[in-house]
C-alpha cells in the first residue's frame, strides 16, 4: 500500500462520561477502500465521528494528508478533502434536492461534477426541485453520497450506506461505491454485510469493544473462520 491518506493512531474517545474508544488505529491509503467492521456497539460510528471531529479524541492522533487534524474544528475538515455520509444520511429534509447537493460548496457548483452526478443518479435529476424529506430512503442515500462527492473529496467516509434501504437499491448503491473507489477516491466504509465489505475492500479493520482487534487484507480475515466468528459472530460468507 502507498502512504496513508488518513492515519488514525491509538485514538480514545468518550460519549459523555462513557469511554467508547480506548485504542483504535487504522490507515486509509490514497485510492484504497478500507472496510471498518465489528458487531453493533463496538464503536465504529464513534470512530468515524472522531475522525470527522464531532466527537473529541481524548488520546491518540488523527492525521490526514500529512496534517495533524486531531484538534481541528469539525467544520474545517471537509475543506481538506474529506467527504462524509453519516449513518441516517444527514440530509436536510426541508431543503430541495438541488439545495442539499450544493450545501457543502463554498462557491458556485462545478457544472461538470454536478452534471456527472445527476447523470449517474437520474432519480435525483427528476427530483431536483423536490423537498429531500419526501424521497425514499434509497434516494436520500444517493443524495447524501452525491452531496459528499460535489466537493470532489480525496477520501469518502460512509457509515452503513445500505442500512434501511430497500434491496433493489442496495445493489445500485454498492455498485456506485465500487465506481467511486475505481475513480481513485479513497473510501472508508462501515458495512454490516460482511460479504459485500470483503468483496469491495482492499483492507479490513475489525473492532472489538472500542479497540482495533484485526487489521489486514480481506483474504487473511477470510482464511480465519474462528477469528471471524469471534469478532463478528458470523460465518465466512460464501
Amino acid at each position: 500500500m502507498s502512504a496513508p491518506l488518513l492515519e488514525v493512531r491509538s485514538i480514545a474517545a468518550r460519549l459523555g462520561r462513557v469511554p467508547v474508544l480506548s485504542d483504535v488505529s487504522l490507515s486509509v491509503p490514497a485510492r484504497a477502500v478500507v472496510a471498518l467492521l465489528g458487531r453493533n456497539g463496538v464503536g465504529k460510528t464513534t470512530t468515524l465521528r472522531t475522525v470527522m471531529g464531532t466527537v473529541a479524541a481524548t488520546d491518540g492522533r488523527i492525521g490526514f494528508a500529512g496534517q495533524d487534524i486531531t484538534r481541528l474544528a469539525a467544520y474545517r475538515r471537509p475543506a481538506l478533502g474529506i467527504g462524509y455520509v453519516p449513518q441516517g444520511r444527514g440530509i436536510f429534509p426541508l431543503l430541495t434536492v438541488r439545495e442539499n447537493m450544493r450545501l457543502g460548496l463554498r462557491g458556485a457548483p462545478d457544472p461538470t461534477v454536478e452534471e456527472g452526478l445527476l447523470s449517474r443518479f437520474p432519480r435525483l435529476r427528476e427530483r431536483l426541485a423536490q423537498k429531500a424529506g419526501t424521497m425514499s430512503g434509497g434516494e436520500q442515500q444517493m443524495l447524501a453520497i452525491a452531496r459528499a462527492l460535489m466537493t470532489q473529496p480525496k477520501l469518502l467516509i460512509l457509515d452503513e450506506p445500505t442500512e434501511g434501504i430497500m434491496p433493489r437499491l442496495v445493489a445500485e448503491i454498492r455498485r456506485f461505491i465500487a465506481e467511486i473507489a475505481a475513480s481513485g477516491i479513497a473510501v472508508l466504509l462501515v458495512e454490516q454485510n460482511l460479504k459485500a465489505a470483503l468483496a469491495i475492500a482492499d483492507h479490513v479493520v475489525v473492532m472489538e469493544r472500542g479497540r482495533t482487534a484485526f487489521a489486514g487484507p480481506p483474504g487473511t480475515l477470510r482464511a480465519d473462520a474462528d477469528l471471524v466468528h469471534r469478532l463478528l459472530g458470523v460465518g465466512i460468507p460464501t
Binding site: M52, A74, Y75, R102, G104
Partner: protein
C-alpha cells in the same frame, strides 16, 4: 402552471399595485391610507429582520428593536446634530445598527434557543435605558425631532418627504430593494448555509459550514435590515424615540413573522400588514382590540402553523400538484 410561477405573478401584481397605490388611493379619496401603507412597508421590513434570524437561521430574537433604534437615532442625530443630508444620515443609521449588531452578535450567536432570546432582550433593555438616560444625545424621554432634508435637490428638481406620495415612493423603493437583496441572498451559498444551520448545526458543520460564523453574519445582516427600517421610520415620523427600542417592539416583529409565515420572504410583511390594518380599523372602535390580535395569532398558529404564506404555499402545492 407551477406554484413558483403563480407566486412570481402575484408578487409582480402586488408590486404593480403598490407602485400605483398613491393614484389609486387619491382616486378613491382615501389619502389617509397612504401614510398607513408607508408605515406597513417600514414595519414589514422590520419584520423581515426578525424573520431572517428566526425563519432562516432558527434564532428567535426579541432584540431587533435595539438595531431599529440605532437606525432611528443614527438618522436623527446625523441630521439634527451633525447637519447631514438625508442619504448620509441614513448611511449613519444603518452603519450604527450594523456595528452594534456585529458587537452584540459576537456574544449572542454562541447561545441558542431561550438563552439566545434572553440575551437579545438583555442587550435591548440595556440600550433602552441608556437611551433614556443620555438625554443630551438622545433627547431622553422627549426623543429627538428634526426637519427631514430633501431626498434630492438638483436645481429645479426637488424631491421632499413632505409630500406624502413622494415619501411613499421613496420608502417603497428602499423596501423593495431590501427585499430583492433578501431574495437573492436566499438562493445564494450563504442562504443555503442559513437553512442548513437552521435544520441541524451538527449536520451543517459536517459539510464544512462554520456554524458560529454563519449565525454571526445572519445576525449582522438582520441588524442592518432592522437599522434600515429604523432609519426609514425616523424619516417618516421626523422623530426618534427610545420607546421604539423597547423589547415589546421586537416582540411585535416576531408575532408578524409567525402570523405571516416564518421562513417565507413575503409572509412577515403580510403579517405586519394584516395586524396594522386590524389596529387601524379597530383601535378607534374598541380599546381592547389587542385581544383580537391575540386571538387571530393563536388561530393561525393552531390552524396554519406555517403562517399565512406557509398555508398559501401548501394550498398552492396541492392545487398545482407540485
Amino acid at each position: 402552471m407551477s406554484a413558483l410561477a403563480v407566486n412570481r405573478g402575484l408578487t409582480a401584481l402586488l408590486l404593480a399595485l403598490l407602485m400605483v397605490a398613491p393614484w389609486l388611493l387619491a382616486w378613491m379619496e382615501s389619502e389617509f391610507w397612504l401614510t398607513v401603507l408607508t408605515e406597513i412597508l417600514i414595519w414589514g421590513l422590520f419584520a423581515a429582520s426578525a424573520n431572517l434570524l428566526f425563519g432562516q437561521v432558527g434564532l428567535l430574537s426579541f432584540g431587533q428593536a435595539l438595531y431599529f433604534g440605532f437606525g432611528m437615532y443614527g438618522v436623527a442625530i446625523g441630521i439634527d446634530r451633525f447637519g447631514l443630508g438625508l442619504w448620509p444620515a441614513m448611511g449613519l443609521g444603518v452603519a450604527a445598527a450594523i456595528v452594534m449588531a456585529a458587537c452584540a452578535g459576537v456574544v449572542a450567536v454562541r447561545l441558542t434557543w431561550h438563552y439566545f432570546a434572553i440575551i437579545t432582550v438583555v442587550f435591548s433593555l440595556i440600550f433602552y435605558f441608556l437611551a433614556l438616560r443620555l438625554k443630551p444625545i438622545t433627547g431622553g424621554d422627549d426623543g429627538l425631532s428634526f426637519a427631514a432634508p430633501a431626498i434630492m435637490d438638483l436645481g429645479g428638481l426637488r424631491l421632499s418627504l413632505t409630500d406624502d406620495a413622494t415619501q411613499y415612493w421613496f420608502v417603497l423603493l428602499i423596501v423593495a430593494l431590501a427585499f430583492a437583496v433578501q431574495a437573492r441572498l436566499r438562493s445564494s451559498a450563504l442562504g443555503r448555509a442559513f437553512a442548513a444551520v437552521r435544520e441541524g448545526e451538527r449536520k451543517a458543520a459536517l459539510l464544512g459550514i462554520d456554524v458560529l460564523r454563519v449565525r454571526w453574519i445572519a445576525f449582522v445582516i438582520a441588524g442592518g435590515l432592522a437599522g434600515l427600517a429604523g432609519a426609514l421610520f425616523a424619516l417618516y415620523g421626523r422623530y426618534a424615540s427610545a420607546t421604539h427600542m423597547y423589547y415589546t417592539v421586537s416582540g411585535e416583529a416576531v408575532v408578524w413573522t409567525v402570523l405571516g409565515g416564518a421562513g417565507t420572504l413575503l409572509g412577515p410583511p403580510i403579517g405586519a400588514a394584516l395586524l396594522i390594518l386590524v389596529r387601524e380599523e379597530l383601535s378607534g372602535i374598541w380599546e381592547h382590540y389587542p385581544l383580537i390580535v391575540g386571538a387571530l395569532t393563536i388561530a393561525v398558529v393552531v390552524f396554519a402553523p406555517k403562517g399565512i404564506a406557509g398555508g398559501w404555499n401548501a394550498l398552492l402545492a396541492r392545487v398545482t400538484g407540485r
